[in-house]
Amino acid sequence: MGDRDFLMTTHFLIKKAFIFVISLTMVITLTFFLMHLIPGDPFMEEQMISEEILKAMHHDYGLDKPLIMQYFYYLKGLFHLDLGFSFKYQGRPVAQIISEAFPISFALGIQALLIALGGGLIGGSIASLYHRKWQDQAILAFLALCLSVPAFLSATLFQYLFAMQLDLFPVARWGSFSHTILPSLALALFPFAYLARLARTNIIEVLQQDYIVTARSKGLSQWEILYKHVLKNALLPVVAYLGPLIAAVFMGSFVIEKIFGIPGLGQWLVTSIGNRDYPLIMGLAIFYSFLLMGFNFLVDCVYYLLDPRIKKGESNG
């Protein structure tokens, strides 16, 4: 039995790792070729550059070689964690830009994630405890509202209300802790509402199971039941949602960083696309994909280990 479990787990991990590698290769290839198809030249901007200088610059950055050669050079560099140099910000390695911008986006993302998770679980638990009472209805209405506001609008609303009108927080920029509050709240709003609804549905479903009735008949209080019996079972789908959740936070961060003027990865991505800064776009796309897919891989593994039902289901099918 143990051997069989072990085999299944290895099989699962290998399959997931295989998908991870294929997807990453696809992202690298797709991004590379799509990006080079973008019309325009990275060096044609403000002033006209003479033919010779343009040629010299193309030669310098290897743009005069056939596309397929450029692709293999890029792959080779990638293995040494060398992402090339930015076209626009001359002399700055892409890896350096990423390593400077990442901690900012990471801090923002983690903070938003914690708010969403904490708020979502608490909101969901409260709503499920008052199932079908007015408190539940009120929370549900609020959540429906939160789910209908795009991130850039909630960010704007927060900025206008709390920073411009009430003057409670800084309007924009990045620095102290108070700078982080509004952006992370705006970023957390949608995932929070989604999680709260998910948690509520699951908790209510679990509350109707037989073992909860038993626990109730033992005389445990509502909160004790929730804490001891329900949460563990109701949290599994929440773990499964972590992957999309992280993706949502990342996607939101593009907009939020632009609105609040935060020098994170999202901001860089948006500007680099405008500048046709090939190495920077590629570096960011690959970094993002690696991060997101790596995280999804981890979530899948954790989920697999946590939920014995998946293993059972796989052996039946």
Binding site: I19, F20, I22, S23, M26, V27, L30, T31, L34, M35, L37, I38, P39, H131, R132, A144, L145, L147, S148, V149, P150, A151, F152, L153, T156, Q159, Y160, M164, R200, T201, I204, E205, A247, F250, M251, F254, V255, K258, I259, L269, V270, I273, G274, I281, A285, Y288, S289, L292, M293, N296
Partner: protein
């Protein structure tokens, strides 16, 4: 059905009916609005710039003196066309993919699902952004970009349903009668998955609206003088401090539409899926 259940059911339905009314009102607004308006959507008049709402300009004007009411109507058309067209492509692609995957051989199912696994693990937004930059922003581009990324969810759900259905008696009976595969799919499987499909469709439309607004915000949506709600909100954002109504109307319309779509989706799910009635 207890008293509480019946009360709740009525409540769900009243929300559903109400949001359907709101959505129809929005559709009428999008279709008829420009004919009601006193100005054309791209008529500029610098003498009337940044006016607040009054009897002549119901939603005020923007920095070029264009009437915001008309622009919101035209924006509604664009936003809704993008959302519906993208979702329609999702529907066709996702349902056929899911049907074939679920009803085909197990080997094929495995391959088709692995393909979706791979596609879904790619952060789609990067691909969308690159595609739009590549093809040049515009209506068709946005629709394509939304469509190529949205169908996988539908395919997954349809396939899951078909897997459950295909071993049930009525399908086996049809097979025994010698019905062809396409007949079984169209006559027996499709009607049974209908509820699920509609629910996913509703979620798809609101996601498409969200993404369209998001892309417009990044400057990758439709280009001026045409406007969508997203681009209007983006324009209004720049003038937030002094002319807050310029962002209010498009923002309100976006939120209202998504809210009503979400509520319709929830209501329909409760109607179709007894188990989920919580």
């Amino acid at each position: 059905m207890g008293k509480c259940d019946r009360f709740f059911f009525f409540k769900v339905n009243s929300t559903l009916v109400f949001s359907l009314c709101v959505l129809s009102a929005l559709l009428i607004f999008a279709i008829a609005g420009p004919y009601l308006a006193l100005h054309s959507y791209d008529e500029t008049n610098l003498a009337f710039k940044n006016l607040s709402p009054d009897s002549r300009f119901w939603f005020g004007t923007d920095e070029l003196g264009r009437d915001l009411f008309t622009r919101c109507c035209v924006g509604a058309r664009i936003s809704l066309i993008v959302a519906f067209a993208a979702t329609f492509i999702d529907l066709v692609l996702g349902v056929s993919y899911g049907m074939i995957s679920g009803y085909g051989s197990q080997k094929m199912d495995e391959w088709m699902m692995s393909f979706i696994d791979i596609l879904q693990s790619i952060p789609y937004l990067l691909i969308v952004i690159l595609l739009i930059v590549l093809m040049g922003p515009g209506l068709i581009t946005v629709i394509c970009a939304l469509a190529i990324t949205g169908w996988m969810n539908m395919a997954r759900i349809v396939r899951g349903q078909v897997l459950q259905l295909k071993n049930q008696e009525f399908v086996i009976a049809a097979e025994a009668y010698g019905a062809s595969k396409s007949r079984i799919i169209i006559r027996h499987l499709l009607p049974n998955v209908r509820g699920q499909i509609i629910v996913v469709l509703m979620a798809g439309i609101s996601t498409a609206l969200f993404t369209e607004a998001f892309l417009s915000f990044l400057g990758l949506g439709v280009q001026a003088p045409v406007a969508s709600w997203g681009t209007l909100a983006n324009d209004g954002l720049l003038a937030l401090r002094y002319y807050p109504w310029r962002i209010f109307f498009p923002a309100f319309l976006i939120c209202l539409t998504i809210l009503s779509l979400n509520l319709i989706g929830d209501g329909l799910r409760d109607l179709f899926d007894e188990r989920k009635k919580i």
